[in-house]
Amino acid sequence: MTLANHYSYWVIIFLAIAGLYIVIARGNLVKKLVGLSIFQTSVYLLYVAPGKLIGGTAPIVSPQFQVYSNPLPHVLILTAIVVGVATLALGLALVVRLEEAYGSIEEDEILPQDRDA
């Protein structure tokens, strides 16, 4: 139970918190989406990293191998990546429409424009 043994988890936690921080702290709508993507990426790692066993092979039964890696997390995360890409694409499309409607992609400049309306 040393810090080095679990370094993949530290990477995951760092990415998750960094991503969430960007979403909260940045007013630029594109940067928010970047943060969101980083946050989602940390979850991909959370699934994929424990699936790999050191010295493990693909799970094809053979008398030469005793240790197998779990392939299921990879398949799950393939789906999650597709979802993430779709979210990012839709988010960016919305930002394009927002830019057309407001002439800005900064939250501080968009929100006041409707306050008097």
Partner: protein, 493 residues
């Protein structure tokens, strides 16, 4: 036999209809297809409900892979009740969509609107029928992504910002859910909800279980707009096209409540994780905050759609309050209020859509005297408002009655008073509409308005009448909710 494939058809029919609409590229054809798909979904949901009403559980193995290896669709009375609710609302709203969408969405985007509607429906139904935690996430995202698009199609440019904010918060919520499921998968090695429930007790002393519970709770609470995680909801409902507001307000948050119920009462209940942890007081506090604060904010809104959106946040408080009691009465109240609130809010937002169609706005300062110009629409809103307050003979009364019974059963008389007290706030905001609609002189612009078209009035009034029918004859709703509550409390089988 085709009937043995009903669980998968429930999802596949609307899912396949969506790309077909995009290929056809015609608004009228897409609408016809959407009607066919949602009515078929309703028929399937009714069939499934009848099949499991006796206490059976339908287990469908996708690709014939046996669970827990393959994805299992597992339908008991809880899922069936929810699928029936979602497809019923979808079937009614789609008829209403025709005129409303014609007025509010540019013509060249009509087929895309209906494609998104069908996708959203299939996502929501998928959440309802699936028995697999990761499959549930995928359906959650299908329904969420399509609802962001639907909201962004609103006429007002503020709809874009509302959709963007919902996208950010919704994605955070869904990602939290996946983190929770990932932790559970690491502990149990399974994604099948029933299998997970069976394996969790063996590892329940692990702190990761607690982390998973926290992540799933927060993630799903974001999606169901539990106070104070409701910030995306008022703008999204206020600026989305009227038909979308009616559909989402009646279904999307309800489905998220179901996910929460499923995890709390099926997956986690056997693991002993709730022992000695003060979860109920937290839920009760947040529910009460929703009931009072959101209702109070609703009173001061100038946009009627926003007013009822805040009221939705408050009504979700009633649902979670019932659930947090964890008793048969409490759960029954929560589940029956899922249905009752869906019908009531569906009716309200559909009728408001009629005003938006004729007048172009639903602001209080513009709709003065609308009661004379659009008598059927306004009277419908008042009747549905009565149900929101919880006047006897309406569905709202049924759920609040059970909520009060559940509170008294716990010996918490003050909670019963809180339920009644927050209903008084509902009286205030519904009265605001009555006052503006009936006691103000109509402006020349309002006086010229015609009544909403029949194709919108009939579905909306069907919902209004449903508020009263199910308020008097509670056999199906209370029976279904009671059986669902008992099935949930029995835990996993």
């Amino acid at each position: 036999m085709i009937t043995s494939h009903l669980p998968i058809l429930q999802v596949v029919v609307p899912l396949m209809a969506a790309p077909l609409m995009v290929v056809l590229r015609s608004g009228a054809a897409a609408w016809t297809l959407a009607v066919a798909a949602s009515w078929t979904a309703l028929a399937i949901a009714a069939g499934l409900f009848l099949e499991v009403a006796g206490g059976n559980v339908v287990s469908y193995w996708i690709g014939s892979w046996p669970p827990p290896w393959g994805i299992e669709y597992r339908i008991d009375i809880v899922n069936a009740f929810l699928a029936l609710l979602v497809s019923f609302i979808a079937a009614v709203v789609i008829v209403y969509c025709r005129e409303s969408v014609r007025a509010e969405v540019p013509r060249e985007r009509h087929y895309l609107f209906y494609a998104m509607y069908a996708l959203c429906l299939s996502g929501l139904l998928g959440i309802a029928v699936t028995g697999d935690a990761f499959n549930l996430f995928v359906f959650l995202e299908i329904s969420s992504l399509s609802s962001y698009v639907l909201i962004a199609l609103g006429r007002d440019r503020r709809a874009l910002m509302a959709a963007y904010q919902y996208l950010i918060l919704g994605t955070i919520g869904a990602t939290f859910y996946v983190i929770g499921v990932g932790l559970l998968y690491l502990l149990t090695g399974t994604l099948n909800l029933a299998d997970m429930a069976a394996r969790l007790p063996a590892v329940s002393d692990h702190r990761s279980v607690l982390a998973a519970l926290a992540f799933i709770t927060v993630g799903i609470s974001l999606k169901l707009a539990l106070f104070p995680l409701h910030l995306w909801l008022p703008n999204a409902y206020a600026y989305a096209p009227s038909a979308v507001t009616a559909f989402l307000a009646a279904t999307a948050t309800k489905v998220s409540v179901y996910v929460l119920l499923r995890f709390y009462f099926t997956v986690f209940s056997g693991s002993g994780i709730f022992d000695d942890r003060p979860l109920a007081p937290i839920w009760i506090t947040l529910s009460l905050a929703a009931m009072f604060i959101a209702s109070a904010i609703a009173i001061f809104q100038n946009n009627v759609k926003r007013l009822f959106a805040y009221s939705s946040v408050a009504q979700i408080g009633y649902i979670t309050l019932g659930v947090s009691f964890g008793s048969v009465y409490g759960l029954t109240a929560g589940i029956v209020h899922l249905f009752n609130h869906a019908v009531t809010k569906g009716a309200l937002f559909m009728l408001l859509g009629g005003i938006a169609l004729r007048l172009g706005t639903v602001r209080f300062d513009a709709i003065g005297g609308i009661g004379r110009a659009m008598p059927f629409t306004s009277f419908g809103i008042v009747l549905a408002g009565l149900s929101l307050i919880g006047v006897p003979a309406t569905v709202g009364f049924v759920s609040k009655w059970y909520l009060v019974l559940a509170a008294l059963e716990r010996g918490d008389a003050w909670l019963a008073f809180a339920v009644v007290g927050s209903s008084l706030l509902a009286v205030v905001y519904v009265w605001r509409f009555v006052e503006v609609a009936y006691f103000r002189e109509p402006t020349t612009e309002v006086a010229r308005l015609r009544e909403a078209p029949l194709s919108m009035l009939v579905p909306a009034w069907l919902m209004v009448l449903a508020c009263f029918y199910f308020g008097l004859d509670t056999g199906v709703t209370l029976g279904g909710a009671g059986a669902a509550a008992e099935s949930l409390l029995r835990g996993p089988r």
